[in-house]
């Protein structure tokens, strides 16, 4: 006839085998099991079953290459996440534009006024107009700062997060130029020229796919020191931002920036 105490202990044997009982509880049950053949046999049976399940469950090796495939999926997700990440400084673009417009308007209002003799339309003169440069002086060409912010803006035009009109300042400064004749070997054969879209706020829109190529007038560009030194050294500067590979190189008076979404693609430096 089954002992009531024995029966009440049976449900705890699994937890005992798994080492999941409180220490005092485990000691008490073990002491009882030691003097009870039936419970002892059940404990051994559970231990064997646990081992059997473990051996069966770990018998088969995972498929070949699974680890690499899973790791690639995680890395791909990481890249996608970076590409989706909003830029914290984006709000500053319209704000800066508003400030510039306000300052321009204020300067215009506070400047000297002359009455047009033929009508009542006021003409605002910029302060420089009051003191024109000597006829022999030629205005220096504007220098465009191709800094981190400008590159990121270009990256986001490439991705499609920003409208190509965001490149207007590059174009209007005269730094961003069209370049019909690309040097052979600049782009890899797989990409091909057909997949390249030159970056200007006209040519980028609409752009469905392909790499972005921005060609700058090197004389009108200021580069960050790191890019400068890379161009002087290896001749090519590479970086990755928001899942987009950035490659910068120069040839003659032209500076080339290639943006490519797939970092795996290769670009041969000139």
């Amino acid at each position: 006839m089954p002992n009531k105490l024995d029966e009440s202990l049976r449900p705890h044997l699994s937890a005992l085998v798994d080492g999941e009982l409180e220490p005092l509880e485990a000691i008490a049950i073990q002491r009882h099991v030691r003097h009870n053949d039936s419970l002892g046999a059940e404990q051994r049976s559970l231990e064997q079953l646990k081992l059997g399940v473990h051996l069966a469950g770990t018998r088969d090796d995972p498929p070949l290459g699974l680890r690499a495939r899973l790791l690639a999926a995680v890395r791909s997700e990481a890249e996608a996440q970076r590409a989706r990440r909003p830029l914290r400084w984006l709000w500053a673009i319209p704000a800066a534009a508003a400030v510039v417009a306000a300052v321009t308007f204020a300067v215009a209002l506070s400047g000297p006024w002359f009455e047009d003799l033929d009508g009542a339309v006021p003409i605002a003169l910029a302060p420089a107009a009051l003191d024109p440069p000597a006829a022999t002086e030629r205005p220096a060409p504007p220098i465009y700062e191709l800094d981190d912010e400008a590159l990121i803006r270009l990256v986001h035009v490439h991705i499609g997060d920003l409208d190509p009109v965001a490149l207007r300042d590059m174009s209007s400064s005269g730094a961003l130029v069209q370049h019909g004749e690309l040097a052979d070997g600049f782009l890899d054969n797989d990409g091909g020229r057909a997949g390249v879209v030159q970056a200007s706020f006209m040519d980028c829109n609409p752009r469905q796919r392909g790499d972005t190529l921005a060609v700058f007038d090197a004389d009108r560009i200021n580069l960050p020191p790191a890019v400068d030194s890379a161009l002087e050294g290896a001749g090519v500067y590479t970086d990755v931002a928001d899942g987009v590979e950035i490659r910068i190189t120069s040839m003659g008076d032209r500076l080339f920036v290639v943006l490519r979404t797939s970092p795996a693609a290769s670009v041969s430096p000139i």
Partner: protein, 195 residues
């Protein structure tokens, strides 16, 4: 460019932390997924989807997160969601307990050097696991195969530790009953008893 470098370094550190804390369980996840889904292709899909989901949420984890329990929970939830979407029936409720026929001694099978009988026995164990309710199977597989604690399993199953204990107890009774039948049918249990 310093800004790029800083951000890139932060991204690399996050990836390294994910690989160390979460991705490192990929083999266990795959084994568990096979036991849940029943085939390797679906299991691979499940693990991939779970790791991707986990990566998306990884930066929101607290420092004291138990990543092992967390990723196994994601995997199970992904499996259950898929099963609901595809209309696959799941025996989610624990079945009525079976009578324990636990007299069979399984030692004969387990201590014998690798031979045809043992391989057959392991197949039998896996088949018996597949017949368990999903909650019981999860509890036993995570405990015996993957070595999770009851606390971690309770996290995965979303139930108290006492329920985990009960599920493991009932699952093992059922497994023993099934496997005892297998051993008896081949005369091993009888031979053991006779010996």
């Amino acid at each position: 460019m310093a800004w790029f470098r800083k951000r890139r370094r932060r991204d690399r550190e996050a990836e390294a932390a994910f690989v160390e804390h979460v991705f490192s369980h990929w083999e266990g996840l795959f084994r568990y997924a096979v036991r849940l889904s029943g085939d390797e292709h679906t299991a691979e899909d499940l693990v991939q989807e779970s790791l991707t989901k986990a990566y998306r949420a990884f930066d929101r984890c607290r420092e004291d997160t138990n990543y092992r329990a967390w990723i196994f929970t994601i995997l199970r939830n992904t499996f259950l969601s898929r099963a609901r979407r595809t209309g696959r029936e799941l025996p989610l409720e624990d079945p009525v307990s079976v009578a324990d026929e636990g007299a069979a001694n399984l030692e004969h099978a387990l201590v014998t050097p690798d031979d045809g009988w043992r391989h057959g026995f392991e197949d039998e164990v896996l088949a018996a696991l597949g017949e368990l309710a999903e909650t019981q199977r999860t509890a036993v597989v995570l405990c015996d195969v993957e070595g999770l604690t009851y606390d971690e399993i309770s996290h995965v199953l979303g139930c108290p530790i006492g329920t985990v204990r009960s599920r493991i107890h009932h699952a093992r009774r059922r497994l023993r009953a099934t496997l005892a039948g297998y051993a008896n049918a081949r005369g091993y249990a009888n031979a053991e008893q006779a010996g």
